[in-house]
């Protein structure tokens, strides 16, 4: 039983943003909420949902209209992600990864590369993958060892990328590879279409949650990438990757707010119906206080997220703000989804209700795009060095 998701009273900058949020909620209710339980149970990637959202223009919202995007500020784009995440995390998380995968070409690509890549990337018919992590290094991404050797007009790439969202279903792969010496300066960003010779995908990981979102290793065995598809110069790769992640973290935070909201709505609906000691359990103050805390923390996370988004939209530095938002929102989602299971009691621990799935899904948000320890490293370092 999926709970009805109550609308959020938002302050939005334009009437088209209001209509866009209404469209997102409608698509989420009709196309996401209805499919999520079965697809997560069977581990089926919902490509048809991405196609539908692509047609609706929801896969390229934050990029300029001039290159085929929706021209929406992050403030609006992130609330669309939140609206979708309140029904099914796999989909907005996938959109966030796709948007992240488009970032290098948009921010660093040459005019020629933009003309060649952006129509397909932003056209709503393709999805991307972003390959930074490796089996031996996730948090310490600058230690990556996947090697790319220049050979005439191509790079030959050898190594293993790990934990790659959309591996096997993506149409293009951003590869962060080593072309130079050790450390961050030796890293370069390449772009490889699916079907690149020498690029293959391992069997998907068996995960605790988000089974419908494939995560797998990308195996590079002398994979030939056209040198024309190097984004930026050799050695720019790490800076590109970190910039992309700053924006990507806001996407993860938005997913966390939505997921928590879905859990709260399910908990409230159940608490109004369920009777104990001769009254609906929502009447017990002990439970009401729990719901009130959940609600307050969701609103606090959204406020923090939107503040970071508005900084980005205004062209101000936002990387610490994004780290705070990611840290707070995803820890909040873990605790709110755990509390939602508690509100449902024994029922919450069964697959008859969605909250146990929400709790399993929340966990991944504390890990991806920089673990929450790494977010604290980012925030703490800024405090330490001023």
């Amino acid at each position: 039983m999926a709970a009805v998701i109550a609308p959020v009273d938002r302050i939005l900058p334009t009437s088209e943003a209001r209509d866009l949020l209404a469209l997102a909620a409608e698509l989420a209710d009709r196309e996401l909420a209805t499919r999520a339980p079965a697809a997560e149970a069977s581990g089926t990637f919902p490509r048809e949902v991405f196609d539908l959202l692509g047609q609706a223009g929801l896969l390229a919202l934050p990029y300029p209209e001039a290159v085929g995007g929706g021209g929406q500020p992050y403030e609006v784009y992130l609330q669309v992600l939140e609206e979708l995440a309140a029904r099914w995390l796999t989909v907005p998380l996938g959109i966030s990864v796709h948007v992240l995968s488009c970032f290098p070409v948009i921010a660093w690509g040459s005019e020629e590369q933009q003309e060649r890549w952006l129509p397909q990337m932003l056209g709503g018919t393709t999805i991307g993958a972003y390959c930074l992590s490796e089996p031996h290094c996730g948090s310490d991404a600058a230690a990556l060892t996947t090697r790319a050797e220049r050979d005439g007009g191509v790079y030959r790439v050898t190594g293993t990328k790990a934990w790659i969202t959309h591996a096997g279903v993506a149409d293009f792969y951003n590869l962060l590879v080593r072309t130079g010496g050790r450390g961050a300066q030796g890293i370069t960003c390449l772009l490889a279409p699916s079907g690149t010779p020498g690029l293959s995908v391992a069997a998907p990981e068996q995960k605790m949650g988000m089974s419908a979102s494939p995560t797998a290793q990308v195996l590079l065995d002398g994979a030939e990438v056209d040198a024309a598809d190097r984004i930026g110069a050799e050695g720019d790769g790490f800076r590109i990757a970190m910039q992309a992640l700053d924006a990507g973290r806001l996407g993860i935070a938005a997913c966390a707010v939505g997921l928590a909201r879905g859990a709260l709505d399910a908990a409230v609906a159940y608490a109004r119906e369920r009777q104990a000691f001769g009254q609906p359990i929502v009447g017990f103050q002990g439970l009401q206080f729990m719901l009130a805390d959940m609600d307050t923390r969701i609103h606090a996370a959204r406020a923090l997220l939107l503040d970071a988004a508005r900084r980005k939209d205004a062209g101000l530095p936002f990387s610490i703000a994004a780290a705070r938002a990611k840290l707070f929102a995803t820890d909040m989602a873990m605790s709110v989804t755990t509390d939602a299971v508690q509100v449902l009691g024994g029922a919450g621990y069964t697959t008859d209700f969605p909250v146990e799935r929400y709790m399993r899904e929340a966990k991944v948000l504390q890990i991806v795009e920089g673990t929450n320890q790494i977010q604290r490293v980012v925030i703490g370092r800024a405090l330490a060095t001023g």
Binding site: V4, E16, D19, L20, A22, L23, Q55, A56, L58, L61
Partner: protein, 267 residues
């Protein structure tokens, strides 16, 4: 019979804004009419099918699609949704004097607005999820002297004729009429599209005309609560659901259930 050039055919689709079906609906204590302001509102579901059918006819043979809605100021949201799906223009009939109008009065205002548009084909959803009477399309057709092809599960326009499958209890009838005509559609007819973000942006630039009672040439006394043929004298909230009856089955459960059902006059 009027010659209709399909390339310039004008289709008017009537759409209604209704309370979201999950929302808790309340009556205004002052006059026992539905409180439309405090509730989340959406386009009546069947009207989405009507808009979709109009757009498909337009895509197949050209012409113009105008959406017409009568409702309070927030009904512009529903008009904008139809425009973002692809309709070309909107007409919003809005006037404080229309508040509390019954089906007869509603059909008068809509008929006047359609007349002013000069429609070749008028399309309605066959019922609204709030009132559920299915009478407004028929009343509008009567007022305009148009043939009415109601409960259609398919619509085809060929030159000056429209042909529909009219759903009945036993299957469907194939019915045909000369244009101009009025059609109402059932949900079997198509799968409505979602607006796209491009459509949302385009909708902002499309014309929406606002018409009041005076513009329509309707006198205040002909519509509104005062002119309604019936009024709600009194209303009470539905009592909370009583606890169900539990029959313990010690072998005689079947008989007990049969006794219960027959006492309730179900069997």
């Amino acid at each position: 019979m009027r010659e209709v050039d399909s390339e310039t055919m004008k289709i008017v689709v009537c759409v209604k804004q209704v309370p979201d079906s999950w929302a808790e609906k309340t009556l205004r204590p002052s006059d026992n009419t539905l409180d439309r302001e405090s509730v989340d509102a959406v386009m009546n579901e069947l009207d989405e099918y009507a808009v979709e059918e109009a757009l498909r006819l337009q895509e197949a043979q050209g012409g113009e699609v105008v959406v017409l809605s009568m409702g309070p100021s927030q009904a512009t949201d529903t008009i904008r949704k139809a425009l973002s799906m692809g309709a070309d223009a909107g007409v919003h009939v809005v006037d404080d004097g229309l508040h509390g109008s019954d089906a007869v009065a509603t059909s008068l205002a809509l008929a006047k607005a359609i007349e002013a548009q000069g429609a070749d084909l008028v399309i309605f959803g066959s019922e609204s999820t709030d009132a559920r009477m299915s009478v407004v399309p028929a009343m509008v057709a009567e007022r305009l002297g148009l043939p009415q092809l109601t409960f259609s599960s398919s619509v085809a326009v060929d030159g000056g004729t429209v042909r529909t499958n009219r759903v009945t209890e036993y299957g469907y009838d194939v019915v045909e009429a000369p244009l101009p005509a009025l059609v109402s559609v059932v949900e079997k007819i198509n799968e409505p599209r979602y607006p796209s973000f491009k459509g949302i942006m385009a909708a902002k630039k499309k014309p929406v005309q606002t018409l009041g009672l005076a513009d329509l040439g309707v006198a205040a006394g002909e519509v509104g609560l005062g002119a309604a043929w019936s009024v709600v004298a009194e209303a009470a909230a539905r009592p909370p659901k009583a606890k169900g009856t539990i029959v313990a089955d010690d072998g005689s459960g079947g008989v007990a259930i049969a006794d219960y059902l027959s006492a309730q006059k179900f069997i």
